[in-house]
């Protein structure tokens, strides 16, 4: 079984972010960068599936050369090799899915495992677009995955409870938070990862039109939360809800 896992380099969710003076993006200089946590869950799941069924885990990232660091961490966890699609210009979800489609056509994976969304822009679109482009079935937000023969059974977290889907391979599956707890990359793993291959490709070489259809124009912080008020009784509460909050 061959599993392709996507890994995105994102800003650390614990970092205190600043908006660029131009307002058109987040300042990433000096900010700690990590692998998207949902993608780490995807790497872990791919490793478990391959441990069970045999096969290979290939990790792919689209981005600048620095994204090799995040591929390397996945290799240190145990993935076999990496593909880095180099592109340092703005890309939207559609552009990323076009590039990943090309990688998938070359790699011919049985399963493409992806985080359900990246924690930086929370777009939640690339996996869905990629499945459509490839004509693969898709099951998103998995909290349990089992494979039998040519069929993946995926339990997914829906609003009303757990929905179970059967998807034919090859397919795209995205991971939710409760699917697993990713392992640590051990020290021997980190050492071994140095020798694992990362195949670098240039996005431009695919000859695709990657002009973003979506452009980020303006970023601002959400308004500061106001302090709560303590009211003496229910009557006052109702009055305030009516006259000040105007929700009744």
């Amino acid at each position: 079984m061959k599993i392709l896992v996507t890994v995105k380099r994102v800003t650390d969710y614990e970092a205190r972010l600043k908006i660029k003076p131009s307002g058109e993006g987040i300042e990433t200089d000096g900010v700690n960068m990590i692998a998207n946590p949902f993608d780490e869950i995807a790497v872990e799941e791919a490793l478990r599936l391959v441990e069970k069924h045999g096969g290979e885990v290939c990790v792919v990232s689209v981005g600048a050369t620095e994204a090799a660091t995040q591929i390397r961490s996945a290799l240190a966890m145990g993935a076999d090799r990496g593909v880095l699609v180099l592109h340092d210009q703005p890309l939207d979800c559609s552009g990323i899915s076009l590039l990943l489609e090309q990688v998938a056509l070359q790699e011919k994976p049985d399963i493409i495992l992806m985080g359900k969304q990246a924690v930086d822009d929370d777009s939640h679109q690339v996996a869905e677009m990629l499945a459509e482009r490839l004509g693969f079935g898709q099951a998103t937000q998995a909290n349990k995955i089992s494979i039998e023969g040519n069929l993946a059974t995926v339990a997914r977290e829906a609003d009303g409870g757990i929905e179970t889907l059967g998807v034919q391979l090859p397919c795209v599956i995205t991971t939710d938070l409760r699917l697993n707890t990713p392992r640590y990359a051990s020290l021997p793993g980190i050492m071994k990862a140095k020798k694992k291959p990362i195949d670098e490709k240039k996005a431009a070489d695919f000859g695709l039109d990657l002009t973003p259809k979506v452009r980020m124009t303006h970023f601002e912080f959400p308004p500061k939360k106001q302090a709560g008020q303590i009211v003496p009784d229910v009557t006052t509460l109702l009055a305030k809800l009516r006259t000040e909050a105007k929700v009744l």
Binding site: T69, R72, S73, Y184, A185, S186, L187, P188, G189
Partner: protein, 380 residues
Amino acid sequence: MIGFELSEDQKQLRHLAHEFAKDEIRKKAAHYDETGDWPSDVLGKAFELGLVNAHIPTEYGGLGLGALDGAIIEEELGWGCTGIATAITANSLAQIPVIVAGSDEQKRKWLAPFASEHHICAYAVTEPSAGSDVAAIQTIAVKKGDKYVLNGQKMWITGAGHASWYFVLAKTDKDAGHKGMSAFIVPKNIPGVTIGKKERNMGQCASDTRGITFEDVEIPVENLLGKEGDGFVIAMKAFDHTRPLVAAAAVGLARAAMEHAISYAKERKTFGKPLWHHEGISFMIADMASDVEASRLLVWKSASLLDQKKKNTLVAAYAKRFAADSAMRIATDAVQVFGGNGFNREYPVEKLMRDAKIFQIYEGTSQIQRVIIARELFAG
């Protein structure tokens, strides 16, 4: 390494050690501090992740990590809990003499098993009446045929209760001062080795410290490290490697104390404003931050000299002295920032203050480090 920038590998090592310290060590730190039990579950996990014995050369099954790599890991482990970090790292102290002075055969026999299974070994030099004054030890090894017969007592031996072998310094010539000392590997399970009770210490309670008695213990001559009379030099050479590590753990502790002080000084209000708006507090914390940074740079320098195969004795003494004394002061000041709460066991900083003290004592006291530094300054 004048750029002070870590390599990608080193960042990964640090990340792993930090996550481990946060998720595994810190969760258990208060428990093991309270009970004094041996943290075997944490040690087992650390072993599986390769955080133990990583400095053993690759030809003997280790990862062959450098001194700077080791120091980077150690700071994070120390940030988690220096008691548990000491339990994890005490192995290195006993292994390093074998790495620096052992024959190929000795390395195969005594180091290689650490790669496949989690073993403990311990460094046994200190005695009830000889600590800083190493040449005053009284343990004696007398050669009889193809054996040495060992008699004497060791004290404050870290990991003694769990070790499978000990690095032991003993006199082979009573009258030759430090030139009469020899170094031996002594397995635990041979007749005449008696392990004392676990000592109850002020801090670093998770670490196991005991006395050991040797009574007519017969050790084969092939367990002698180097030649007769090499013992003192071997033990001192080991310090060049272990002092940067111990100093790194002190940096980790100091950093933890500082972080606690910062978050408390933001949260706690006095006289209508957060603590840190009072200069008395913010200056204390500013001093903590500069000393943590300075300690770390000394540690990195002392370790990277070793990696460049240069003599680091002097810088290791700077690092050990400065990091240990700074950690003690920073932990004490952190308790001060916390006020009455700092004195209480429900808050994290009193443990750090108890744990910090030993850094000024073990691996050469702060006074011994000054002796080393002064001797160097006035040499020739």
